[in-house]
């Protein structure tokens, strides 16, 4: 979305830029590390102990919502039964392609579809406490499950997400890859740059003092680049989520995570 072309652009330097674009260095599979791996011992301990992990509050609330009947007298539990069985590994393979909608959707959107279609209820707003609670409860059942992103129908979204990840964006003209592929492990002021693997979502972020979705986390980075934000659930957001999950394929889920 480059604005109007500029009058006196230096031809020589644009040629120079055009010919030396280096491909972002992808992280070899063997060197991938989750945000959890890179956290301090204290933060890891907080995540590992359910009584210390602040996200547990949302998980408990999600468990309550799971068995709450709506106006059509249906609860999630009525159809899905025991979550430990029915929801195991589910969060690890979202976003997924929805054949009815003919597009990829993420876990929050999937839960809202059930609310609308199967419970006759109004979908929860993105980032609402209820949606985060249900997502956290469902994602909790995927602890330890390897991330899977192998549906051929997801390929276009993964490719679009990759293109976005590698594109310089915003007033600061930075790509996600420049930080997360090329400079992970280094310090951006007080923060260690992680590899951006979405293993722990939704996360309790200490800086937010709240639970938040992967989309919220991505918006934080886009905001930092001074990029015009995409709306929640915009195709670009789902594409980025899909690419990040594909990039983290095989890594174990640790949701709901705690992150700095």
């Amino acid at each position: 979305m480059t604005e109007i072309a500029f009058a006196f652009r230096c031809v020589l330097s644009s040629v120079l830029i055009g010919t030396t674009l280096a491909a972002a260095g992808e992280i070899p599979m063997s060197e991938r590390r989750s945000g959890y791996d890179m956290m301090s011992a204290d933060t890891k301990a907080m995540q590992d102990d359910d009584t210390a992990n602040p996200a547990s509050l949302w998980v408990l609330e999600g468990e309550t919502l799971w068995s709450t009947k709506t106006t059509n007298n249906k609860s999630c539990a009525d159809c899905h039964g025991d979550t430990a069985q029915s929801m195991k590994g589910i969060a690890a393979r979202y976003p997924a392609f929805d054949t009815k909608l003919n597009k990829p959707i993420d876990l929050g959107q999937r839960i809202n579809l059930c609310r609308a279609e199967h419970q006759n209820a109004t979908p929860f707003a993105p980032e609402s406490r209820e949606l985060l609670a249900l997502t956290a409860f469902v994602a909790r059942q995927s602890r330890g499950s390897p991330i899977v992103q192998d549906d051929p129908k997801m390929q276009p979204a993964i490719a679009a997400g990759r293109a976005l990840f590698e594109q310089r964006l915003g007033q600061l003209n930075l790509s996600c890859a420049q930080c997360h592929d090329d400079n992970w492990g280094k310090q951006l002021a007080g923060s260690t740059i992680p590899q951006a693997h979405p293993t722990g979502y939704p996360i309790y972020r200490l800086e937010w003092q709240s639970l938040g979705s992967l989309q919220r986390r991505l918006r934080n980075c886009l905001f930092g680049q001074r990029t015009e934000l995409y709306a929640f659930d915009a195709p670009e957001m789902i594409a980025l989520e899909a690419f990040l999950m594909w990039r983290a394929r095989g890594m174990p889920m640790d949701a709901p995570g705690v992150r700095p």
Partner: protein
């Protein structure tokens, strides 16, 4: 570095106008403003994480700033390693020195994608702020 002599102007109706400048080799020898920059103000800009953003990536002689980045060289001695003109081009548009740089272009509004509405058409720093930053950097002799 190709020794280019070229001028860019960021003029666009309705947007903050960028002043034209001339690149000579690896430098912009002439100041962007008539009045000289102020090193005190420059130091404050460099040290401010919302304004200059420099210490997100760089370390520098700022003992009061506890969180500094390590993505870029220490700014200590920057004024000994480069002339004011070289520093000016580096700040104005570092991509002319290194197309792959992560250092943001501080005085450029073209060739950027999806800039947030509140920053659109605006350079990261104004011409005056850039001269303040240069005035500070040239004092970093050792």
């Amino acid at each position: 570095m190709a020794a280019a002599l070229c001028t860019i102007g960021g003029a666009r109706a309705g947007a903050d106008e960028l002043r034209p400048y001339t690149v000579v080799g690896d430098a912009i020898p002439a100041p962007l403003t008539g009045a000289p920059g102020d090193p005190e103000r420059g130091r404050a800009i460099v040290g401010n994480r919302q304004v200059g953003l420099c210490l997100l990536c760089h370390t520098g002689p700022f003992r009061e700033e506890h969180f500094q980045g390590n993505l870029a060289p220490d700014l200590t001695g920057a004024g000994a390693r480069a002339s004011a003109g070289q520093l000016r081009l580096r700040i104005v548009d570092a991509s002319r020195l290194n197309p792959d740089t992560i250092m943001p272009p501080y005085y450029r509004v073209d060739g950027l994608e999806r800039v947030a509405a509140n920053f659109r058409g605006k350079s990261i720093l104004s011409a005056e702020q850039i001269e303040d930053v240069i005035a500070f950097l040239v004092t970093l002799k050792d």
